[in-house]
Each structure stands twice: as C-alpha cells, then as structure tokens.
C-alpha cells in the first residue's frame, strides 16, 4: 500500500570530482527505506534547488570536498527559500573546518557530517529533522 516515504536529494555541488562519499550515503539512506534522488557531480546551486523543487524532497544532502562550502551552501539555502521550500532541511557532508561549522549551522544547515560519521547517525538525524517539519 502507498505510504509516506522520506525523499532526499543527494547532490555534489561545485567542481570536486570525488563522489564516493555521496554514493555511500545514497546507498545507506536507501537501505534505511528512504527514496534518494541522486543527481551526480558538478551541480550548480540552481540545478540543486530546481531538482529539489521538482522532486518535492524533504531533505537535501550536499557533499562538498572542495572548500567552497561557504559560497555554495548559503546559495542553495537561499534558492530553496526563494522557491517556497523553507521546510526542506539541508545536510552537509565532506571536509568542513570547525570554524565554518558554527556559521553554517547558524545559516540553517540542519546537520554537518565530517569524515568518519556513522551512517546510522546520519539516518537518525535526517529522520528526526524531517519529522519535526512534517
């Protein structure tokens, strides 16, 4: 029978070409029963926001290893808002220096997961964040 599924967009914005982490997360979320829309490498914030809109996702997971997170993440959050998707929760994975973590959380990022994060923790955080907004 049809039921509500958590839908998550997993995207890699920017120019770094290393998407193993993003794929591991996509697979883990799938195994947790979520529907993961995987968009692949080198996405612009505009492409990500548009995909999030068309797919009506509950959460967006961004993987950034290039160091460009302070440019890319606020832009994605702004575009989601502009599209009326204020409730979409944004998660971030990759190499994020500690001093940026606090700034990004203040900007509205729902969770930041560096190397070594357990997939179980990520799944739980996404589930509880999405249920809070539902």
């Amino acid at each position: 029978m049809p039921e509500k599924k958590i839908r998550v967009l997993v995207a890699k914005p920017g120019l770094d070409g290393h998407d193993r982490g993003a794929k591991v997360i996509a697979r883990a979320l799938r195994d947790a029963g979520m529907e993961v829309i995987y968009t692949g490498l080198r996405q612009t914030p505009e492409m990500i926001a548009e995909a999030a809109l068309q797919e009506d996702v509950d959460a967006v997971g961004l993987s950034i290893l290039s160091g460009a997170h302070m440019a890319l993440v606020p832009r994605v959050i702004q575009l989601l808002k502009d599209n009326g998707q204020d409730k979409v929760r944004v998660f971030l994975g990759g190499i994020i220096p500690d001093e940026d973590v606090a700034k990004l959380l203040r900007l509205g990022v729902a969770g930041i997961f560096g190397p070594g994060s357990s997939t179980q923790k990520i799944i739980e955080d996404i589930r509880s964040a999405v249920h809070l907004t539902a």
Binding site: K5, R30, V36, Y38, T39, N83
Partner: protein
C-alpha cells in the same frame, strides 16, 4: 480545497506537491486529480522502455532537448518526464538516478522531471504512475515521457498507459532468439537501436528486422540481410491501418539520430490520429485504469467487511492444506468451504 487551481495556473511547487500526494494516494491527491481530470487528454504520452543500460535516460534527455530547441525553428514544446526506478523489495528504499543523464535540461522551466520509485509494483511502472501522468497532462505539458525501470522481457505495463511506446535496444544484448520471444518487443511502436556506434549494430538490426518481418508477413522479406526498398514499403503501409514499428539508430550521448527519431514519433502520432487509433488507445488506457481502480477498491472494501479472525482461520486452513488457494477464496467470498 484542493491543489488544482495553482497547478492549472502553472505553479511548479504546487505541481510537485500534488505529485507527492498522488504518489502517497492521499485524500488531497485524490480530490485534486478528480477536479483536474477534465483538463487531461491533450498530451502525447510516450513510453520509453528497454533493458538496463541501453541508454533510456540519455535518449529521453536528447529527445527533450530537441523538443525544447527544434532545429527547424518550430515553437518549443513543454516536456514532462516521469522516470521510474526500482524500490528495494527488502527495505522499500530506492536510489533514483535518472536525473544524472538529464542535467542539460536543468534551468529550463519548460521541462519538468520527476523521479519515482516502483514501491513494490511489478511491470516496470509504479502504481501511481498513471496518476502522476494525469497531473502533468492537466498542468499543460504537451509531451510526457514515461521512462520505465530497466526492463527484462515482460515489463510491458507501460504500453497500456501511453500512446507511443519506444523500445530501446543496444548492440550485443542477445542473439536473434531473444528477438522472437514474446514480450517487450511486441509492445514497440518504435524500435530504437541506441549505441549504434558500437560493434554488432548490423547484427542487432538484422535480428530486429527479422522479428518484424515474422510478425508482419505482409511486408517484404529480408533476403540475406539485403533490405528491399524500405521507404517505399513504409509509404505503402502508411496508407493502411497497419503500423509496422520502424527501427531508428541513435547514439544518444552524441545526439545522433535524434531528429529522425523525433520524426518517427510524430509519424506514429499522425498514424494514430488518421486511423482512429488515438481514440481507441485512449479508451483502452482508461479502461485499464478503471479496472485497476475497481479491483483495488473492491478488494479494499470487501476486506473491511471480513473479520480478521475469519481471514486468519482461512489462512490456517490453507497452510494445513485443508483448502486449496481457490477453495480458500471461494470460502471467503461465498462462505463455502468446498466447491
């Protein structure tokens, strides 16, 4: 209050929400589809199916690009794409990856792409695919591509939903016995031989042609791989009601063969309209949907009238082999144990 007004007004977020509601079979989704239904029926529905890895997503991407920027200066068409990928039978989760091949369509508001998981349905589509297509039709998309899961041999549900079915093949996927088996090739209105720059394309095309000639013996026979005048034969057939699926070679990653494929899709539409088959397909399509809904509603309403206790008891009888499955159904429906 339903979502039909903003959807009809072109609100993309409302449309995206509606698709979710329809997918979840929610009351809001149902009432909105009810009020939108009178606005449906004008889109050309095109199914795209074929084995995994034959290039369906890349092909849909190229077709959409072509319709958005017609090289002949024709006005761009509004395009929707519903891309179905399988759900895990164990966890219910899914990775939907068809958008990866469609990145060139991003930033164009004349295109709407929606990925959906099968959520337990077999046959290559999800239970809610027809509903999503209706919503997109009402929202004014002129061509709607429905890309099935990578299908094997019997995922033929898509043909019941669409006007035109593209079956995508690629060289090297099987010998000519594969081509005469029943199933997916039989539903093709157009056969696309993608990856036509690969070795083996001649053999693959010969196998497909051979299959077509067997299926349509009125058409001229291929002799030692030598094809008699194909275009003359096609012209001759255009005058009759019979449609013989043309084969088009493409290299989707490079956009090769796309204009020819677009012309073939238009040709099929014209054929459907001229022969009255457009109406007939619409009727058959809606009948399928009516019967599917009727079936699931009947089961649901009947199930609500049977006590769980009686249901379980019958299941026990089945397990202990006191009743066969047919007798169990009889017992549940008529209160009888033995026929």
């Amino acid at each position: 209050m339903d979502l039909s007004r903003p959807v009809l007004a072109g609100d993309r977020l409302a449309l995206a929400r509606l698709l979710t509601e329809v997918e979840n079979d929610s009351p809001l989704g149902r009432t909105t589809l009810n009020s939108l239904f009178k606005h449906t029926g004008s889109a050309h529905l095109v199914g795209v199916t074929g084995a995994p890895g034959t290039g369906k997503s890349s092909l849909v991407n190229q077709l959409a690009l072509h319709y958005r920027q017609p090289p002949d200066g024709a006005p761009p068409r509004r395009i929707a794409i519903v891309a179905v990928d399988p759900s895990s039978p164990f966890t219910g989760g899914a990775v939907l990856g068809d958008r990866i091949r469609m990145r060139e369509l991003s930033g164009d508001t004349g295109v709407f792409i929606r990925s959906m998981a099968t959520r337990g349905s077999l046959g290559g589509l999800a239970a809610a695919t027809a509903g999503l297509v209706q919503a997109l039709d009402a929202a004014g998309f002129e061509l709607i591509f429905i890309e099935t899961v990578g299908s094997g041999q019997s995922e033929v549900e898509v043909a019941k939903l669409v006007h035109t079915t593209l079956v995508v093949e690629a060289p090297g996927l099987g010998d000519d016995v594969q081509a005469i088996k029943a199933g997916i090739l039989e539903i093709a209105d157009l056969l696309v031989l993608n990856k036509a720059d690969r070795p083996g394309v001649e053999a693959a095309e010969r196998a497909l042609l051979g299959m077509l000639k067997l299926g349509h013996p009125t058409k001229r026979v291929v002799h030692h791989g030598f094809m008699l005048d194909e275009t003359a034969a096609e012209a001759e057939l255009a005058a009759t009601d019979q449609w013989i699926p043309p084969i088009r070679r493409t290299v989707a990653t490079e956009g090769k063969g796309i204009p020819e494929l677009v012309a073939a899709i238009a040709g099929h539409r014209l054929h459907l309209e001229q022969t009255g088959n457009w109406q007939r397909r619409d009727r058959a399509r809606l009948q399928t949907e009516l019967e599917d809904l009727l079936r699931s509603q009947l089961v649901a309403s009947w199930r609500s009238q049977v006590s769980q206790q009686r249901y379980e008891a019958t299941l026990d009888d089945l397990l202990s082999r006191r009743l066969s499955p047919r007798q169990a159904v009889d017992a549940l429906l008529n209160g009888r144990g033995k026929p």
